[in-house]
C-alpha cells in the first residue's frame, strides 16, 4: 500500500508546477490553466487525506472545489474573451495600461 504521504508529495509537486506555470507563462489562458492545476493538486491532497482519516470531509471539499472551479472558469473565460475583444491580446505583459 502506498502511504498517504506519497500522495501528499505528489500533490506538492503538482502544486508547485502550477505555481511555476503562473509565474513563468505570460499567456493568460495558460496562467489560468496552471491555476487549475494547482487546484487539482490540492484536490489530490484532500482525497489522500480523506482516505487517511477515513472520513468523507475531504471528498466533500473536492466536490465543492470542482464547483468553484466551474464558476471560476465561466467567469475567467468571460473576462479573457472580453479583454481579447478590446485588446486583441492575451499576453499578460501587453495588458498593462496601468503599471502592473
Amino acid at each position: 500500500m502506498v502511504p498517504p504521504s506519497y500522495f501528499m508529495g505528489l500533490s506538492a509537486v503538482l502544486f508547485c508546477i502550477g505555481v511555476l506555470g503562473v509565474l513563468l507563462r505570460r499567456n493568460i489562458i495558460i496562467i489560468f490553466m496552471s491555476i487549475e492545476l494547482m487546484l487539482n493538486a490540492v484536490n489530490l491532497a484532500f482525497v489522500a487525506l480523506s482516505r487517511a482519516w477515513g472520513n468523507v470531509d475531504g471528498q466533500a471539499i473536492v466536490f465543492f472545489v470542482m464547483t468553484v472551479a466551474a464558476a471560476e472558469a465561466a467567469v475567467g473565460l468571460g473576462i479573457i474573451l472580453m479583454i481579447f475583444r478590446n485588446r486583441e491580446t492575451v499576453n499578460a505583459d501587453e495588458i498593462n495600461l496601468m503599471r502592473w
Partner: protein, 497 residues
C-alpha cells in the same frame, strides 16, 4: 436502495441563515426584475436592493446575544457574526446608494450590477459567519467571483477589463494557496471545523504549521498584505469606482472577519508560531503601502496603497492577537469602512460620464467650487490620517493601545512613523482642493440626492464614531469576545466616579 437522509440530523437554525437567504433571494429578484429594465434607468433596481438590504439588517438583529453553532458547525450565530453582518450590509447599502446615479450614468448593466453586489454581500456575510474552513472558502469564492465580474462590468473600458483580469488571475492564484492551507490543516487535524483548531497547542505538527502558513498567504492576498498586494493598485484604479469602494471596504471587511475568526479566535493556541510572521508582514505592509502611496498622483491608486497601509495597521493588531486587539480591529474596520466609502463616494461625485476625474490635479479648487464636497473629502482624508476626533484616529489609537498593552513597543513605533508618513500623501489632495485652482469641472452635487445621502452617511458616521466611540467600542468588544463563546473578558473597568 436509497438511504433516507434524516432531516433531523441537520442542525437547522434560522438565525444565521435568514439574512443570507434574504440577500440571495433579493439578488435573484433584482436579477429577474432587471430583465425588462434598460441599463439607463436601473435606479429602481438599486432602490429594490436597498430594500433587500434593509430587510436583511432587520433579520440579522434577532441574532444579537445568541451563542449557537448551527448546521453541523457550518455557521456560527454570535455577536461577532451580527457585527459583521450589519457592517457589511451597511457598507453594501452605502455602495448601492452611491451607485444609483453612477451605474446608470456609466451605462453599466444595472440588473447584473445590483444582483452581483448582493451576491457578493452574501458571500461576505458567509465568511463572517463561517464555522468551518469550507464555508470560508465558499464564501470567499462567492464574494470574489462576484467582485471579479463587477470589476470588469465596464466592458468597453480597457482599464476595467484589465482590472478584472488581474484581480481574477491573482485572486484565483491566492485561492489555490488558501485551499492548500485548508488541506494541510485538515490533514493535521482530520476535520475542517474551526472549533477543532481551538484545542491545538504550540508544538503542533509541522503539517499544521505549513497549513497555517499557506492560510496566511491566502488571506494575505485577500487583505492585500505586502508582498501579496501587487494586484491592489491596478485593480482599484481600473475597476468602476463604486466597485473599487466595494473592494476596499466589503472585501476587506469579510476577509478580515474570516482572518480574525480563524487566527485570533481558533488558532490562538499556536499564536507564537504565526505572530512573528505577521509581525514582519505588518511592518512590510504598512511601510510599503505608505512609501509607494507617497508617489501616487491618481487618487484611486493612492487610496489603494492607503488601503494596503491600513491593512498593515490591522495586521499590527493581528500580530498582537489579544482580545483587546481583536476588539480594536473590529472598531478599526468600522471606522475604516465608512471613511473609505465616503472617500470613494466623493470620487464618484467628481466623475462625469467619460471623465473619471480621479487625479489629485482634478481636485484643484474644489474647496471653493464645491465646499461641501471638499469638506467631506477633507474629513475623510483626515480620518484616514488619524487626526482626532475622527473615526480613523480612535481606530488607530485602539490598535496601538492594544499592541502597546501586549508589549509590542517597536511595532507601534514603526506604525506611528508610518502614520506620520501617511499624513504627507493624505494632505496633498487637501492642499489641491483648498489652495490650488483650476481643477476639473464637477457635476453639481446638489442634483444627486442619493450620492449626497451616501456621502452624508459616511461623514456623519466617521465623525460620530470618532467623537463618541464608547458604544461602538463596547459593541466591538462584545462582538469579538462572543466569538470565543465565553463571557467577555474583563479587560477594562469604567471610570471610577
Amino acid at each position: 436502495m436509497t438511504t433516507a437522509v434524516s432531516l433531523a440530523a441537520i442542525n437547522f437554525n434560522w438565525l444565521p441563515i435568514l439574512p443570507l437567504l434574504v440577500v440571495t433571494a433579493g439578488a435573484m429578484v433584482v436579477l429577474l426584475a432587471g430583465v425588462r429594465v434598460s441599463d439607463r434607468d436601473s435606479e429602481g433596481l438599486g432602490w429594490l436592493s436597498l430594500v433587500v438590504i434593509a430587510i436583511a439588517v432587520a433579520t440579522s438583529l434577532p441574532m444579537l446575544g445568541a451563542q449557537q453553532v448551527t448546521f453541523s458547525g457550518a455557521l456560527v450565530a454570535d455577536d461577532f457574526t451580527v457585527f459583521f453582518y450589519i457592517v457589511i450590509l451597511l457598507a453594501a447599502a452605502v455602495i448601492v446608494l452611491m451607485s444609483l446615479d453612477y451605474v446608470a450614468d456609466e451605462g453599466l448593466p444595472g440588473a447584473e450590477y445590483y444582483a452581483l453586489v448582493l451576491f457578493a454581500t452574501a458571500g461576505m456575510m458567509l465568511m463572517a459567519a463561517a464555522g468551518d474552513l469550507i464555508i470560508i472558502f465558499l464564501g470567499l469564492e462567492t464574494m470574489s467571483i462576484s467582485v471579479y465580474i463587477l470589476a470588469g462590468l465596464a466592458r468597453t473600458d480597457v482599464r476595467s477589463n484589465e482590472a478584472a483580469m488581474k484581480y481574477f488571475l491573482l485572486g484565483a492564484f491566492s485561492t489555490g494557496f488558501l485551499l492548500y492551507g485548508i488541506a494541510l490543516v485538515y490533514g493535521a487535524t482530520g476535520t475542517i471545523k474551526l472549533h477543532a483548531l481551538s484545542t491545538l497547542a504550540v508544538g503542533a505538527s509541522p503539517m499544521l504549521l505549513l497549513g497555517v502558513g499557506l492560510l496566511l498567504i491566502g488571506f494575505g492576498f485577500k487583505v492585500a498584505a505586502v508582498p501579496f498586494h501587487m494586484w491592489t493598485p491596478d485593480v482599484y484604479e481600473g475597476a468602476p469606482t463604486s466597485v473599487t469602494a466595494f473592494m476596499a471596504v466589503g472585501v476587506k471587511l469579510a476577509a478580515f472577519a474570516a482572518f480574525l475568526r480563524v487566527f485570533l479566535v481558533h488558532l490562538l493556541g499556536v499564536q507564537s508560531d504565526w505572530s512573528i510572521v505577521l509581525w514582519v508582514l505588518a511592518v512590510l505592509t504598512m511601510t510599503t503601502g505608505n512609501i509607494v502611496a507617497l508617489m501616487q498622483t491618481n487618487l484611486k491608486r493612492m487610496l489603494a496603497y492607503s488601503a494596503i497601509a491600513h491593512a498593515g495597521y490591522i495586521l499590527v493588531a493581528m500580530t498582537v492577537g489579544s482580545s483587546a486587539a481583536g476588539a480594536a480591529i473590529l472598531y478599526y474596520l468600522l471606522g475604516y469602512a465608512f471613511t473609505n466609502l465616503g472617500a470613494f463616494a466623493i470620487l464618484i461625485a467628481m466623475a462625469r460620464r467619460g471623465h473619471p476625474h480621479e487625479t489629485i490635479a482634478d481636485l484643484r479648487g474644489l474647496g471653493t467650487r464645491e465646499p461641501a464636497l471638499a469638506g467631506a473629502m477633507a474629513i475623510m482624508l483626515f480620518s484616514l490620517t488619524g487626526v482626532p476626533p475622527l473615526a480613523g484616529f480612535v481606530g488607530k489609537f485602539s490598535i496601538f493601545s492594544a499592541a502597546l498593552n501586549a508589549g509590542y513597543v517597536w511595532l507601534v513605533v514603526i506604525a506611528v512613523l508610518n502614520s506620520v508618513m501617511s499624513a504627507y500623501y493624505y494632505l496633498r489632495p487637501i492642499v489641491a482642493m483648498y489652495t490650488d485652482t483650476g481643477g476639473a469641472e464637477v457635476v453639481r452635487i446638489g442634483s444627486r440626492p442619493a450620492l449626497i445621502a451616501a456621502i452624508a452617511i459616511a461623514v456623519i458616521a466617521t465623525v460620530i464614531i470618532g467623537i463618541y466611540p464608547q458604544p461602538y467600542m463596547a459593541a466591538s468588544t462584545s462582538a469579538f469576545t462572543s466569538a470565543f463563546g465565553k463571557p467577555p473578558l474583563a479587560t477594562t473597568a469604567s471610570l471610577h466616579p
